[in-house]
Symmetry: D2
């Protein structure tokens, strides 16, 4: 049996006249794309163009709904209710699905953005709001969740198709969650260490925590970054390393 792994990135984050990221260069390295839906980034024209780019490269189309906070790029925590989370995700994902269908494709998954993703990771109520929205979408739309998060638990209970996300460049705590960015050890800056972590996660379902313990991590999809220097170089190196391990990049599931 051959192993596969999904390679995702957040794209379509331009807004009106403002450009962000280099989607055209990054897209060929991806197997799935999380496309901003207009609340924290993106606008109808940007969505149309990004969906076209994904279709061109055979990349699975995901909705990347965020909080209604353009100025803050959806990164500022907001006190929203489960119901508001449900409605925000349903609205944005529904809009994205129309563009996917119009381009002859389909909506493959939903991944919450920024503060919504992070707040939900430890909040069962927000997770429920997001999960209920994905359920309401039907059509076997999958949900991308932080591996080991409350969102994963709630999504599995609901019977959704769940894709667990891991990070190549982040270190993990003993409990399987990410070392917070406020901790100086949060980021892996060495390319080889990042790649080794990914290979271990994908082939063995584990990684070494920041305290040196072997912990279980489920790696269905790996998050690549598009907005940093060296992002494309890293994506290339990672794909080469996966190939050496006979791990095929493929959208999950």
């Amino acid at each position: 049996m051959s192993k596969t792994v999904d390679l995702n990135a957040d794209v379509g984050e331009s807004f009106g006249a403002w450009k962000m990221g280099n989607d055209a260069a990054l897209m060929p390295f991806l197997t799935s794309a999380n496309i901003a839906c207009g609340f924290h980034a993106g606008d109808p024209r940007t969505i149309a163009r990004t969906v076209a780019l994904a279709v061109k490269h055979g990349v699975a189309i995901g909705a990347h709904p965020g909080l209604p906070d353009l100025v803050g790029f959806g990164r500022r925590n907001m006190a929203i209710t489960e119901e508001e989370a449900y409605q925000l995700v349903l609205y944005q994902s529904g809009a994205m699905r129309a563009f996917a269908h119009a381009a002859g494709s389909r909506l493959h998954h939903v991944k919450a953005h920024g503060a919504l993703y992070n707040m939900a990771a430890s909040d069962p109520q927000l997770s429920r709001g997001i999960v209920r929205a994905v359920q309401a979408l039907g059509d076997q739309v999958a949900i991308v969740v932080l591996s080991g998060s409350e969102t994963e638990r709630v999504a599995r209970e609901a019977g959704l198709t769940v894709s667990c996300e891991v990070f190549a460049d982040r270190r993990y705590q003993d409990n399987g969650l990410l070392v917070p960015r406020t901790d100086p050890r949060a980021l892996i800056t060495d390319e080889q260490e990042s790649i080794d972590q990914v290979i271990a996660m994908v082939t063995q379902g584990s990684c070494i925590s920041v305290s040196g313990r072997t912990i279980s991590v489920r790696a269905d999809t790996i998050c690549l970054h598009g907005d940093q220097d060296g992002a494309l170089v890293f994506a290339q190196a990672l794909r080469a390393a996966l190939a050496r391990q006979s791990i095929a990049p493929r959208a999950f599931p």
Copy 2:
């Protein structure tokens, strides 16, 4: 053969903490509802509630996409391109469809709002943008157009299901278009005259223009207003008059 006519109204026009209209009282009189999609009015919570209300009363759910102008309520002309019209309508209608599906219903039609509707009525390019968006939605979603407008012409050429809208309280020019609001004769204020005009439109496919000529008008759907004093009284009187003519209220088509 029994006659039928659709009775529509613009609803879901509240926004956040601000209320507009009396949707709960108006909905029982309708057979189809044009629900604001968030660009000129409406927000995810308002959409969810309005869709639920429509489902409760068996009213067909329509998207009512508008220009991105909350402060101006989508009533100020904006110089948008065909492509922007396409993207605006696709985005908003896709979002609305997700709520319709989540409520166990379907998206029945799309009717452009305010300045978008009015600009497109005499602009083939904008009409094409709107029509292409409805085509992209597929699923036999119908389009509601001003009877006799460019939008009607473009929509028929494209093979869409077209529902022609007429107004009970507006007078018509010899060319079949509405007398502009700037003309003092634009509005019919007498209830009986309004009802007589509707009955003639539905039963004979014609009405008397402001200059006294008999002109052809196609009346698939009649637009009721919800935000004016006496709106409910008029809706009740109109339904009674239709009943006396054995015209059944029914969503078109």
Copy 3:
């Protein structure tokens, strides 16, 4: 020496085509007005009209800046920094001041709105952001703060003119802060009890806490509500009660 007290209310909370409150009826009962600035409510036209109404009735003009959250009416907590609070308040208050000057008046005070006011009440950093913005405005612009809050403390340290706000219809804890709305005892619903509390606050600088203790409360300004049934009746009754105690309504300071 005759006593005076300021009577304030949040006004100008309409937005575009949406109306809220009954400012024209409430304004004659006020001595100062907190006018929404466009981030949580209000828009340039609404501001112009509300400022004109305040000037007509000789009511002092205040800026009522809120979080950038129209859909949530500025009532949802957001994780903003001190710097963002400073910039939000400066921006909105500067805009309001231009309208006050254009109407031949001046900007009298600033009172933060909703979640911004409430978060700052117990957060010295947010309070500092707001206070620094009012300092930057200069021109002896006063700040309205919750009596006993962190915002009061920070504002006094900064040497601002501080107006302490109390509520006629809210009960207080032993520490001088409001009983949270989640507590069933939070609201005073009896009109006479509300009036008695206000009279005690103004004349004795104290009130009876929810546990029965006499606590110090500084009452420079009393917050009236404009958006509830009976608001005008209560405002009238309160003004009559104040008159019987020879307490003159007057903008503070």
Copy 4:
């Protein structure tokens, strides 16, 4: 008598996480800056940073108010009334002035942005709305207008301090207005031709129209572009050419 000319550019056009232009590099070449105010671009943080940059380089601070159209960058015509123009400009300029004052500077001028500037250039009513707003600001705030436009005429009638703007890289019609961008001759792409046109405008008050006639043009301020390749190189060349003619760059008036 030594000649002077103002060199202005539109800056502060970033928005939230999105960057636009290279203000830090351009600012040293300017004598006055038109700073976006938040409706078409800019946000409170961007305004604060841009104002600080202008103060650091001794550049006069201008408000650059635009239409409420972030997605369209204020470049799409909108049907607004004179009253709406007045209110939009007053609101945005008031906000900008607060930041200028907070930075120890003052609001030097107002220049309308994009579609608002262009629509007003041939529309006396919109021009009146803008002019009335600048009058209401008082404090000797100047207005920057297109040389020869309706806005210039209305502003002079109102007694405002008027700064006439010319473009180094645009050709002019016989009537003194710009050749529309739809005309292939609209843009001057040769650097020396641009510089020669500016020198003639400043020293002789005239330039050669596209049909070869010498026409009068008043050049109080020259608009530089910051968002194009070669912008800084051109700014440098222009300043050198002005220096050779003993024309000193200085904010007008």
